[in-house]
Amino acid sequence: MINALANGIRLIGHRTIEAVWRLGAATRFMGLVLARSAMAFRRFQLTLDEIHFAGVLSLIIIIVSGLFVGLVLGLQGYETLKRYGSAEAVGTLVALALVRELGPVVAALLFASRAGSAMTAEIGIMKSTEQLSAMEMMAVDPFARVISPMFWGGFISMPLLAAIFSVMGIFGGYLITVVIIGVDSGAFWSQMQASVDLRDDILNGVIKSVVFGAAVTAIALFEGYDAPPTAEGVSRAVTRTVVTSALAVLALDFVLTAFMFTGV
């Protein structure tokens, strides 16, 4: 009994120390990424390549998902608003839901599973096959040459992807409610225009997507860099990237929403 208790306490202590150690390692990692960022901007082609990898190659999934989310939102919104005789307000509902919440959040979740997992795998494999060590031995800093451009590539891509997601979602809402169901097109757009505020809604949505982009990219790169140099280590790191990023995005969304929209 006492032994079991002691083992339990030991396990908690071990896990706590490990968590604190990882937090410290992640902080140091991010410090290095930011400190070695000069090359990412001086040789901007490196960052552009990463924007292509993280952003352009994620476009298909973002466009298709945004369209479907918009279609569903339009359909659900119309059915609900119709009961109160305000079906024309569906444009407002679709736009606000997408710009404030669904655009940044769903785009970030998709970004984590498409680009984040790929970043983790790439860095993890580069580490396990000693490509990062080889770079160091060639006097090329892997943080400056590879990791920082990847971070800034993800950081820049994410808000653009969220914006595209929202635009596609609004287009999906328009398709289902105006083109198919027959809601008045003028009412759809004018109510949306009157209700969506540039600063309170759009800017706050952009801020969210920037924060999510930084968080997801940082998590993906750290997990890849910290992965044990084995096939199993890299695969676990990829899983951790997707899970941790999803939780981080949802938690950050709550915190940001509390500050932005409820005046906490």
């Binding site: 494999i125 096959t129 060590s133 080889a134 031995m137 060639m138 006097a139 090329v140």
Partner: protein, 279 residues
């Protein structure tokens, strides 16, 4: 003439490119190296041999400044590689080349791009000159014709030769080889062995070869260190090694399964493990 600078007196001529003085190193409290002293003379090819897990690769990483010794000093070209600013360490690394065990080529680049990588990173040479230099390096390892292939399209031996071309791209003063013969067929072993010797002499470099391959390495090296239990247990020229009566060297060179290095990993008595103790 090369000089080592010290604060205590005038410059001291040094014929050694790399020196280990009483170096100790541990991983997670487990001692790997204990009081290692080694000298790598300029222009020579020196082999470091020893069983798996004896710290041979650790020695290379200490020379490259990727690991830091717990105690002792590692000097390269007369200066320390630890406790120095990042920029200084990277300046020293530009004079080094390293061949990793499996090449560590960048998998998304062709052989040409891999060899061009250090040239593009560290020089402002025009693309036409980089092309000529890369083709010269690839020709030196016999793979000019494979310049357009990606690492996945190369055999193990070819990948290591491309990695060797990359390692010598900047004409280094020190070339380090981490298990260059592992997993290669006998022809490739011979090719790599000849290249190590030939490139060292052509570049006027110094080479450190970490290897298990006794027969091939004794053909090409000038000096050998044997490492066991974290210490240098024997050293000498290839002829001295072949003639050595020292039990460890004899066991290693002749590939005997038992000797100072036991066949069995440390374990309690066999009968005890099988539960026969009480019967």
């Amino acid at each position: 003439m090369h000089f080592r600078f010290s604060l205590s007196g005038p410059p001291v001529p040094s014929d050694n490119l790399v020196e280990f003085s009483q170096v100790e190193f541990s991983y997670d409290g487990r001692p790997i190296l204990q009081g290692v002293d080694m000298r790598f003379a300029r222009g020579k090819v020196v082999a470091i041999m020893g069983g798996s897990g004896t710290g041979k690769t650790t020695l290379l990483r200490l020379i490259g400044g990727q690991l830091k010794p717990g105690r002792g000093k590692v000097l390269v070209d007369g200066g320390p590689v630890h406790g120095i600013p990042h920029a200084r360490l990277y300046a020293i690394r530009r004079k080094m080349g390293m061949l990793f065990q499996f090449g560590a080529l960048f998998t998304d680049l062709t052989a040409f791009e891999n060899v061009a990588f250090p040239l593009r990173e560290h020089t402002d040479l025009p693309e036409s000159m980089i092309r000529d230099m890369v083709l010269m390096k690839l020709d030196a390892v016999g793979l000019r014709g494979a310049h357009a292939l990606k690492p996945a399209e190369l055999s193990g031996g070819m990948a290591r030769r491309v990695a060797l071309a990359r390692a010598i791209a900047l004409d280094p003063m020190l070339i380090m080889y981490d298990e260059p013969f592992t997993g290669l067929d006998p022809i490739s072993v011979g090719v790599i062995g000849n290249l190590i010797r030939r490139l060292n002499d052509a570049l006027g470099a110094t080479s450190v070869v970490v290897t298990h391959d006794v027969q091939e390495s004794l053909k090409i090296v000038d000096y050998v260190y044997f490492l066991a239990g974290g210490k240098v247990v024997a050293e000498g020229t290839p002829q001295q090694v072949r003639d050595s009566g020292e039990p460890f060297v004899h066991q290693f060179v002749h590939g005997e399964s038992d000797g100072p290095v036991h066949f069995h990993y440390g374990a309690p008595p066999y009968g005890e493990d099988l539960g026969l103790g009480d019967r």
